[in-house]
C-alpha cells in the first residue's frame, strides 16, 4: 500500500478546496439558504405540514441530498479531469500507485468535502427550522454512502469527459433534474399513481427517501430498499472504475 501516495493526492485535493473556498463551500451554503427562504418560508407558509412534519423541516434532507449529489459529482469529476486536461496526469500514471489507491485519494477527498458540506448545510438549516434527527447513525450512514457513491460517479465522469462541456452535462442535465423530481421538495406520495410509479425508476428517490427517513422516520419507499439501492449504485460505480483502470480507458494509450 502506497500510503504516502494516497495521502499526497488526498491532501492536494483538500488543499484545492481551501483555495476555492468560496466556490466549494460558501456558494452551496448561500444557495441552500435561498432555497430555505423561497421554499421554506414562502411556500412553507401555505403548505405547513407533510406527514406531520413542518414543510421547512421536511425539505432539509432533500436540500442536503441535492447539494451532496451535485457537489460530490462536480468535485470528483473536476479533481481527476483537471490533471488530464493540463497534462499533469503523467505523474500519477507513472507513480508506483495502484488504481485503488488513486481512487481512494481522489474519491476520498471529494467525498470528505461533500460530507463536510452536508454537515455545514445541516448546521445552516438549524438556523431556519428546528430539527430533530430520529436515526443519527443512519443519517450519517446515508450521508457517507451517498457522498462516496456520487464521488465515484464524478470520478467516472472526469475520466469519460473529453471537454468541460461534457463535464457539466451530468450534474446539470441529469443529477439536478433527477433530484428535483426525486422528492426533494415534496413527498412522492402526493403524486398521481402513474407518476408515483414512474418515480420508482429514479434512483435518487431511494436516496432522498432513505435520508429523510433517518431524520423523521417517514419514507416514500421502503428503507431497506433505499439502502439496497444505494449499495447497488456504489457497486456499479466501483465496477465501472475498475474496468477503466483495467483497460486504461481514456487514461493510457
Amino acid at each position: 500500500m502506497n500510503f504516502y501516495g494516497v495521502r499526497a493526492i488526498y491532501t492536494y485535493e483538500m488543499a484545492r478546496t481551501g483555495r476555492t473556498l468560496f466556490q466549494s463551500v460558501v456558494s452551496p451554503v448561500i444557495s441552500t439558504s435561498l432555497y430555505f427562504i423561497v421554499f421554506g418560508a414562502a411556500i412553507g407558509s401555505r403548505i405547513t405540514h407533510i406527514d406531520g412534519v413542518s414543510y421547512g423541516a421536511f425539505i432539509v434532507p432533500g436540500l442536503i441530498m441535492l447539494m451532496l449529489l451535485t457537489q460530490s459529482v462536480t468535485n470528483a469529476a473536476f479533481g481527476i479531469y483537471f490533471p488530464r486536461f493540463v497534462g499533469t496526469i503523467y505523474e500519477i500514471l507513472s507513480a508506483p500507485i495502484s488504481a485503488f489507491e488513486i481512487v481512494l485519494g481522489y474519491v476520498g477527498a471529494a467525498a470528505t468535502k461533500s460530507i463536510i458540506l452536508g454537515l455545514i448545510i445541516l448546521a445552516t438549516s438549524f438556523l431556519f427550522v428546528p430539527i430533530h434527527i430520529e436515526h443519527p447513525f443512519w443519517m450519517l450512514a446515508f450521508l457517507f454512502l451517498t457522498a462516496l457513491s456520487f464521488s465515484l460517479l464524478g470520478f467516472i465522469l472526469g475520466i469519460w469527459a473529453e471537454g468541460f462541456e461534457k463535464l457539466q452535462i451530468v450534474p446539470l442535465l441529469i443529477i439536478t433534474p433527477l433530484t428535483f423530481l426525486g422528492g426533494t421538495f415534496y413527498s412522492t406520495s402526493v403524486l398521481p399513481p402513474f407518476w408515483r410509479t414512474v418515480t420508482l425508476f429514479n434512483p435518487l428517490v431511494y436516496l432522498i427517501s432513505g435520508f429523510r427517513w433517518s431524520f423523521f422516520g417517514i419514507a416514500d419507499v421502503n428503507v431497506q430498499m433505499s439502502v439496497a439501492m444505494t449499495l447497488l449504485f456504489l457497486a456499479v460505480c466501483l465496477a465501472i472504475v475498475s474496468w477503466f483502470f483495467k483497460t486504461g480507458y481514456r487514461l493510457k494509450n
Binding site: 502506497n2 500510503f3 504516502y4 501516495g5 495521502r7 499533469t88 508506483p96
Partner: protein
C-alpha cells in the same frame, strides 16, 4: 550485473493501427548517460512512456533493475523519475508544495531537507513562495526536473529537456545531469541536438520508424558523424581523375565538373591543403568550393538502407 533497464522484443501498436515500436531490444547500463536519438515520430516518447507506465505495451517485456514494469510495477516505477517533453505543471501550487506532492506520490516519506536541496540545485529556492503560474518557461522546465528528482530516483528520463531552453539554462541543466551521473543516477535523454548527445552521452541509440537501428558508444558514433565532404566545382569538365590525385580517393560528379573529397574532421590532418596543392599541380582549376557534413538524418537514412535490422 542486471541492466538498469532491459527491453526485450517490445512492440507497440496504437488503436489506430499505427505501429510505433517494432521488436525493440535494448539494455541501458547502470550509471550511464544514454542518448536516444531519432527524428520526430520515431518512437522515442512511446518507448519512454512504456518504461514509465504511461503507455501500455502491445507485447514484449521491460524490466527496471530486474523488476518487471507490469508484474512488479511498484518497485520498477519507484526507481524512475520522468521529465516529459510537454511543459505541464500545476498553476496554483508553490514549488515546494508540488515537490512534496511528487515525493509522496512515489511513496517516499516527507523530507523537507531534500526538497530544499533539489530546489536549490535547480535555482528555484528563491521562488519557493511564488505560485507556479508566475514562473517563467525556463523555471517551469527546471521545476519539472525538480519534481522528477523529488523522490530520489536511480534512473532519470529526460525527454527533450532542452527544447525551447536558452543557452545559459541549457549549460546549467547539463551540469546538473553530470552531477547526477556522478552520484550514480542512470540518465536516459532524448534530443534532436546531436551536439548535446556528443557532449553528454556515454552511449547513443538511434531509433527510426519504431526500430532501434544503432546502439553504439559515443566515440564510435562521433567518428561516423565526423565525416565531411568537400566539393570542388571545376572551371572545365574533366574526363577522368588524374593519377596524381589517386591517393585522395576522389569521386567525379556533376558530369565531370565536380570533384568530391571525403575526409574526417577528427583526423590529425584533414588533407585539404595537400589536396588543393595537388589539384593545382595537376593543372585543374576550380571556381568554387563547398563543404557539407552528413546530418543526423542522413546517417539514419544511410543506416536504415544499409542495415534494415537492429544494429547492436
Amino acid at each position: 550485473m542486471t541492466a538498469a533497464i532491459s527491453v526485450s522484443h517490445l512492440n507497440k501498436t496504437y488503436a489506430s493501427g499505427f505501429q510505433a515500436l517494432k521488436d525493440i531490444n535494448l539494455d541501458i547500463r547502470h550509471g550511464e548517460i544514454f542518448a536516444l536519438l531519432g527524428p520526430n515520430g520515431a518512437g522515442k516518447t512511446t518507448l519512454i512512456g512504456i518504461v514509465c507506465g504511461i503507455v501500455r505495451p502491445t507485447s514484449g517485456r521491460v524490466t527496471v533493475a530486474g523488476h518487471d514494469i507490469i508484474a512488479d510495477y511498484r518497485a520498477a516505477r519507484s526507481l524512475i523519475g520522468l521529465v516529459p517533453q510537454e511543459l505541464t505543471t500545476d498553476a496554483f501550487e508553490t514549488p515546494p508544495a508540488t515537490l512534496r506532492f511528487s515525493r509522496g506520490l512515489f511513496g517516499k516519506p516527507p523530507n523537507p531537507d531534500h526538497i530544499e536541496k533539489v530546489l536549490k540545485q535547480l535555482s528555484l529556492w528563491d521562488k519557493r513562495d511564488a505560485k507556479i503560474r508566475m514562473l517563467s518557461g525556463g523555471m517551469k522546465r527546471r521545476l519539472m526536473i525538480a519534481k522528477a528528482l523529488a523522490h530520489e530516483p536511480q534512473i532519470l528520463f529526460l525527454d527533450e529537456p532542452t527544447a525551447g531552453v536558452d543557452v545559459e539554462l541549457r549549460k546549467d541543466m547539463w551540469q546538473l545531469v553530470r552531477e547526477l551521473r556522478a552520484s550514480g543516477v542512470t540518465i536516459i535523454l532524448t534530443t534532436h541536438y546531436i551536439e548535446e548527445a556528443e557532449d553528454m552521452a556515454d552511449r547513443v541509440g538511434v531509433i527510426n520508424h519504431g526500430e532501434i537501428i544503432l546502439v553504439e558508444d559515443k566515440a564510435e558514433l562521433m567518428r561516423k558523424l565526423g565525416k565531411k565532404q568537400l566539393t570542388l566545382e571545376l572551371r572545365e569538365r574533366v574526363d577522368a581523375i588524374p593519377a596524381a590525385l589517386a591517393p585522395y580517393r576522389l569521386a567525379l560528379a556533376g558530369g565531370g565538373t565536380e570533384l568530391i573529397y571525403n575526409y574526417d574532421t577528427r583526423g590529425e590532418h584533414t588533407g585539404i591543403t595537400d589536396l588543393l596543392d595537388a589539384v593545382r599541380h595537376a593543372g585543374i582549376k576550380f571556381k568554387d568550393l563547398q563543404t557539407t557534413q552528413s546530418s543526423l538524418e542522413d546517417i539514419f537514412v544511410g543506416l536504415v538502407s544499409r542495415d534494415s535490422g537492429a544494429g547492436r
